[in-house]
Amino acid sequence: MNRASYLKKLRGKLQRLPAHEVDAALAYYEEYFDEAGEENEQQVIQQLGSPSHVASQIMADSALKDLEATSTSTKKNVTAIWLIILAILSAPLSLPLLAVAIALIFSFGAVIFSFIIAIIAIVLSIFFGGIVALISGFFILTQHWPTALLFMGVGFIVTGLGILLFPIVARFIKKIVVVCVEALGKLFHKIMKKRKEGY
């Protein structure tokens, strides 16, 4: 591999990042090669490690940085999760370690995902349960109005409770996503450290 193909590969590995980030990284490594001198090209390539290794470090860091800067947008957080997962997957790992990493990520993701779905289901069922009570109140209004009033009252209370829960749950889910991203970032750094220690 020579300098040109090395940098081209690096650009390819970074393509998930915003264009200006990719350009900045490439400019840095172009300069790095320049400074080291043409005669040391092969040595630099060896010292830097594979393009995947360089790219995974940049992506993980950029994902964590984005998260710190704007932890309010869920969309950004989800992108950050993907970036870290990509960083872990593109890191040159030994096969068993990679398998463990993938298994960990997927089980982690599955648990969190089902947890979030369960919470949403609970809130929705409270909300719709209230509406059903409200509607059934209307239906028995002509038969026995005190019972109808009771049903409608309960319906209103429960529906209101459901609506009140929406923003709380939304914030809670956002928080979970943020925690996930941080945990994934930590996992990434642990894996990279393990690798350095010679696994």
Partner: protein, 103 residues
């Protein structure tokens, strides 16, 4: 090196080097490597992060027909460096106390 290097210590080293004199990527890597065992590719994310945090700014200067990007410490960077130095001293004293058996 046997002792692990955390990102805070790495930040402190980079800021301390740039505080003395503006430096470009390659020379920075060499200088950090002279005291710590880091891989060649470790420094770029660190520099980018410090830059995004407004601890560092960059400017380009022509050198032999191309541009060198110099990193310069900012006012916030100096403040951050002082914080890190303070923490380092506290940490160092505690570790010394245990390792060297107190004064």
């Amino acid at each position: 090196m046997t002792f692990q290097l955390g990102s805070a210590l790495l930040d402190a080293c980079v800021l301390a080097i740039v505080d003395k004199e503006d430096a470009y990527g390659y020379s920075l890597t060499q200088q950090v490597q002279s005291v710590m065992d880091i891989s060649e590719s470790t420094l770029y994310p660190v520099l980018r992060r410090l830059q995004k945090a407004n601890y560092l700014t960059t400017y380009d200067q022509p050198y032999q027909g191309r541009n060198r990007r110099y990193y310069q410490i900012t006012k916030q960077g100096r403040i951050r460096l002082l914080e890190l130095l303070k923490e380092w001293h506290m940490y160092k004293e505690k570790v010394d106390y245990v390792l060297l058996g107190g004064k």
